[in-house]
Amino acid sequence: MGSTLSQKAQSQYDSSTITAAPRGNILAPDGSFWVLRNNVWQITVNPKLIKESPENIAKKIAPFLVDDSNNIASVSAETQKINNLISKQDVSWVSLAQKVADSVKKNIQALGILGIDFTQGGGRFYPEASAAAQLLGFVGKDDGGNDMGYFGLEGYYNLPLSGKPGFVGQEKDAKGTPILLGGTKEVTAINGVDLTISVDKRIQLLIEKNLEDGIVKYEARGGSVTIMDPYTGKILGMATYPSFDPSKYWEYNNEVFRNPVISDSFEPGSVFKVLVMAGGLDSGAVTLETKCDICNGPISVDGYQIETWNNKYHPNSSMTDVIVDSDNVGMTFVGQKMGANTLYDYLQKFGIGNTTGIDLQGESVSPLRKRGTWSNVDLDTTTFGQGVAVTAIQMVRAVSAIANGGYLPFPHVVTQIQGDGWQENVEPSDSPRVISQKTAEEITQMMVDAANLGEAKWTKIPGFTVAAKTGTAQIPVAGHYDPTNTNHSFIGFAPVDHPKFVMLVMLQSPQSSPWAAETAAPLWYSIAKDLFPYMGIQPDR
């Protein structure tokens, strides 16, 4: 009897509280915030404690819980919703709103309504609004109602960002005051770590603005811009369209959360030619002096006709001409000289068919056809970027190997992790060599010539030498190619002697022109025009 009473008494004294571990922040290279943790509140009501009519309370609270309190329709809908919730008689706890900002909570608290209570929680504040949304990801709830990061950085680094909640067990008196002589058990909460990322705010906002303008101007369905440091693999900017607002992620369809730069594979078309040509030069299958002896007209392979994009043919083209003219027949010549297995090996070396390992949640790639199973048509079409699928990040990574002299970098976003009293730099693994320095220089010069003499020459910036290549790719739809739509891309780097960035511009189904030289290329240059002074790149001629 005594022990039972003692246990009951003890259970009345004992009070245990879970101490939350604040989620880590995400910072830009300059120390400013991409994502800041903030205070948000859950508003609850006990319908049994309220003294006013549910309708009155709903009318008082609703204007604070809508985006625009002048919008009569939304205020009215919110009032109705709250009224229904408070009118429930058989419950003693109803949640009215979640993730409510501190200022809103203070306004509602000032109304002094009995029965309304506030519970503190952790929120995310995005100072640059929806910028870099797909790269950052968002924080939602898991099945147990706990915070969980989804997509991008929030998803990939969910565990270290979350930290570990703590626990405080204390004896308290009837009023809830701690009894100092009573026992205390405490497990300290471990705060989530802060992440510093390589994405520069000014570059990110610049490319997002330009991409949005480009989408409108060229009447495209969507698009992306990816910028990477070719030596370190640091992502300097990654913009996608359409995008979403991570602070209101529930208002968007799930499709928009995927980051197309790392998740969506596409047939690259002519931008792929530089990788195949690099393999051809590096393997010795072709040299700068090699002449294409099948370039005088279309060729037939296993019943398929391979033509140039403009039906113009250049007999005895040099390998540089093949790239400058973006000659499909010339590329078929290179592929046939290399053979399927050699081409496969070089594509593997360039990382095609494999994930890049970028530290963002949701990377997925299409595998290459198995080595040794390629038909002649497979070999030939792959040389000009058809019948093969890549992601934008794979393409940027592979071209970075050309830009930096032959090493394949590991793309990454996080550069430093900071905890309480410690910090650690994130160092990617050593980049493996893919092609020789000589090959990298040769293919770079071909890309310089392509930028200066190719179809996109009209849009280049005077005084600056860039290495670049256009790509206009047909879109495979249910076993055939879409006759009306094409995907446009333009990839390039600058300055040529020691590149500070590699940039890929992708546009989905632009309607203003069928050619990338008239859409993706001018968009690339309009971004580069602002990037040059910002990155300290001077004219070289």
Binding site: N39, P127, T177, G463
Partner: protein, 98 residues
């Protein structure tokens, strides 16, 4: 005999007195700890309030210093983006020494 009685009485008085003092001290201690418990609870509440305020100030600061916000303010103040950048060749002297 009388001395023995006095000594016994004295011991009892001292013991009684000590017990009394201890009892009073115990009551004081209980009151003091209860008051301190309330004080600790109050301090914990204030600490939480200060942490909230600090978080609010930080959020306010971050919001006002965001690139988007600075861009808006600079436009309001009449700053404009350079539209025609002119590069000056490094070989051209800007000012000659006398």
């Amino acid at each position: 005999m009388k001395n023995k009685f006095n000594l016994k009485n004295l011991k009892m008085y001292v013991l009684g007195g000590l017990c009394g003092i201890l009892a009073i001290l115990s009551i004081f201690m209980t009151i003091e700890t209860a008051a301190s418990g309330a004080e600790v609870a109050d301090l914990q509440k204030k600490e939480a309030q200060l942490a909230n305020q600090q978080q609010d100030i930080e959020e306010n600061l971050v919001e006002n210093l965001s690139v988007n916000s600075l861009r808006e303010k600079s436009t309001e103040m009449g700053f404009a983006k350079v539209s025609n950048l002119v590069y000056v060749s490094g070989g051209v002297p800007v000012a000659r020494l006398p």
